[in-house]
């Protein structure tokens, strides 16, 4: 293949794409920021607030699934850990009323520590065991929340969580205050994710996802990096859960069931498992807001997610067949572009 010409064009395209993806992220965030000034309907604001919280969650899961190529099916459990940590540290339940930033930080940390505890034994052998173990972990968290009644309040949960008090601003009942709090957190999460993807760590994740063996040979330590991805993903979930607990003012185990994990996974897969931020936020909007618009189809909501996941994967993996030959787009310049299984991959697979 004549490499020099397409590569240069490829680089230019990649640069342009990167610019577009940053521009897309800013555009989506700005639109979300001005939304409450235009929309007066409180119900819509409430739905948008949920979209923001799930977008933060999805950004975290996108690191785990999209970047490191690990499947986490108990992701909502980390959301629960974050929410319950916040509930315990700032409610009459234990009589603690700690500072907002301390509570949020500790909530994220708690989620991260749980991730390391279950990630370490699981990730040592095969990354794909993680899918099942996290599913089991999600169950354990749900069982614990329901049964450790002395600590978690059992099925009725914890009520009367303090409204946040940030730099002397006391939150009341106004939804827009919480909305902007979630917006600020989402913006920070988006910036952190963008920064991570560009960093050495992010590149190592991509290398591991694409070819673990080659990455290892280049001196990348898989266990450490997988744990990092899994832990950082959990931090995002912890923060989102903490804000969720504040918004609700109460927490109960019903919010942290496995269907919610599948929902976040659907967001991430719909967004294309790429390193771009804005598709994740848009996908969160579609997955959260669409069922609200189609209320009478609630029964079918989960039913739709199944075929959606299968179709997304099958289309993605067969996309290269539909690409016309000789087009510049076929040059693998974009690091996100899905790489079709190379003959070399198949040979390696077979000579285990």
């Amino acid at each position: 293949m004549n490499t020099s010409q397409p590569t240069r064009i490829g680089q230019a395209l990649a640069g342009k794409k990167q610019l577009l993806s940053v521009a897309g992220m800013i555009a989506v965030l700005v639109l979300l920021a001005i939304a409450p000034t235009v929309i007066t309907n409180q119900y819509i604001i409430d739905v948008l607030l949920r979209v923001l919280l799930f977008a933060i969650l999805a950004l975290g899961l996108n690191i785990v699934v999209g970047q490191a190529g690990l499947l986490d099916l108990g992701y909502i459990a980390f959301w629960g850990v974050g929410a319950y940590t916040t509930a315990l540290l700032s409610s009459p339940r234990l009589g603690l009323h700690l500072d907002f930033f301390v509570v949020t930080g500790l909530s994220a940390l708690a989620a991260g520590i749980f991730a390391i505890i279950i990630g370490y034994p699981t990730l040592r052998l095969r990354g794909d065991y993680l899918a099942i173990v996290t599913l089991g972990f999600g169950e354990i968290v749900r069982i614990s929340l329901n049964n450790l009644t002395d600590l978690t309040g059992g099925p009725s949960g914890i009520q009367a969580i303090d409204p946040p008090n940030i730099f002397g601003i006391k939150f009341g009942y106004a939804l827009t205050q919480y909305y902007y709090l979630a917006w600020v957190v989402l913006t920070i999460a988006a910036l952190v994710a963008t920064f991570l993807f560009k960093s050495r760590i992010g590149l190592s994740w991509t290398a591991l996802r694409d070819d673990e063996l080659a990455a290892k040979a280049s001196g990348i330590k898989p266990l450490r990096l997988y744990l990092m991805a899994f832990g950082i993903g959990a931090l995002f979930a912890g923060v989102s859960g903490s804000i969720f607990a504040r918004v609700q003012g109460s927490v109960s185990p019903d919010s942290f069931v496995v269907d919610q994990s599948f929902m976040v996974l659907a967001i991430v897969v719909l967004a294309g498992l790429s390193r771009r931020i804005w598709p994740v936020i848009i996908a969160a909007g579609v997955i959260i807001a669409l069922p609200e618009a189609l209320r009478e189809f609630q029964e079918y909501r989960m039913l739709v997610f199944g075929p959606l996941l299968v179709a997304a994967v099958v289309i993605r993996e067969n996309a290269h067949r539909f690409k016309r030959r000789g087009r510049i787009a076929a040059v693998p310049s974009d690091p996100d572009a899905n790489v079709a299984p190379q003959p070399a991959d198949l040979i390696k697979e077979e000579t285990r």
Binding site: L71, E139, N147, F305, T351
Partner: protein, 297 residues
């Protein structure tokens, strides 16, 4: 002591069912290195297939009813599993590991929710297939139900063992699991082997659904979720890819769960199973009877 023995019996009964589902996981993993998520869904469909089969033949003749339920469940399980492979796995053969995992979970969500719409979300009472009597052996009571469940599970394992070790298709499966490229050069059609593997795994899961359904007395659309997890845990504990290992793993999971349920509470029994899985992964990640795999380039 009698409490302990009683829980041991209960655990071994459930464990023998987990073992046959775990064997399905292990078969598919052996041939494709794939964790087949939708296995729990196939199990649930098998349970409903048995229920409907019994509803059509009636329960006057117990033997006929049991045979109808088991055959219907095995047939439906095999067909559904072949369809699962055709729709969700075959189009992405050779992709990165993450893709079949996502596709598998999507198929599970589809099966569970479709069953919820078709059969209703409420638990359905299972017809009494097995005679109610019980045997008293010293301090422990063994019900006839338990004996039949274990007997059918053992019969399934025996059939599977015969199929894999004595038939041409079994030889082709073993060869493909050992080295796909070499097997294919010897004239083994890999796609055919994969279809047979999925059919076997589906039949085993379907029969397990009937056994648990009639043992517990209900079928629900969500019944496959936890058993899928536990059977996978059993397969990993026994060393995934190793069929006798799945039997030991299944029995171990069953006993751990029964002990947890008996001595702590039924909710914590499930949590203990995953605790055991994590501990095994920590101490012996390749499972009790697994081989450490060496990756060559």
């Amino acid at each position: 002591m009698s409490e302990f023995l009683q829980q041991l019996i209960n655990g071994l009964t459930l464990g023998s069912v987990y073992a046959i589902v775990a064997m399905g996981f292990t078969l598919i993993f052996g041939v494709l290195q794939l964790i087949a998520f939708a296995q729990g869904g196939v199990y649930m469909l098998g349970s409903y297939a048995g229920l409907l089969a019994v509803a059509s033949v009636g329960t006057e003749n117990k033997l006929l009813a049991i045979a109808a339920a088991v055959l219907a469940a095995a047939a439906l399980g095999a067909l559904v599993n072949i369809a699962i492979d055709r729709v969700g796995y075959r189009p992405i053969r050779g992709s990165k590991r993450l893709m079949p995992l996502i596709s598998g979970i999507g198929l599970y969500i589809l099966i569970e929710n479709a069953a919820g719409l078709v059969f209703g979300k409420q638990p359905r009472a299972y017809p009494t297939l097995f005679p109610e009597g019980q045997l008293t052996l010293g301090p422990v009571v063994i019900s006839v139900k338990q004996i039949i469940v274990v007997a059918i599970a053992l019969a399934c394992m025996g059939t599977l063992y015969f199929f894999i070790s004595r038939t041409g298709s079994g030889l082709a499966m073993r060869a493909t699991a050992e080295r796909p490229s070499a097997a294919s050069l010897m004239g083994v059609n890999p796609e055919r082997v994969i279809i047979i593997t999925f059919a076997l795994a589906g039949a085993l899961s379907g029969i397990a659904g009937v056994l648990v359904g009639s043992y517990i007395g209900v079928a629900t659309p969500v019944m496959g979720f936890l058993i899928g997890l536990k059977a996978f845990a059993a397969a990993v504990i026994g060393g995934i890819g190793n069929i006798p290992g799945s039997l030991i793993g299944g029995l171990a999971i069953g006993v751990i769960e029964a002990m947890g349920a008996g001595y702590i509470s039924s909710a914590w029994g499930d949590a203990l199973v995953f605790g055991a899985l994590v501990i095994v992964l920590l101490i012996k990640p390749e499972g009790l009877f697994g081989r450490r795999s060496v990756v060559k380039v």
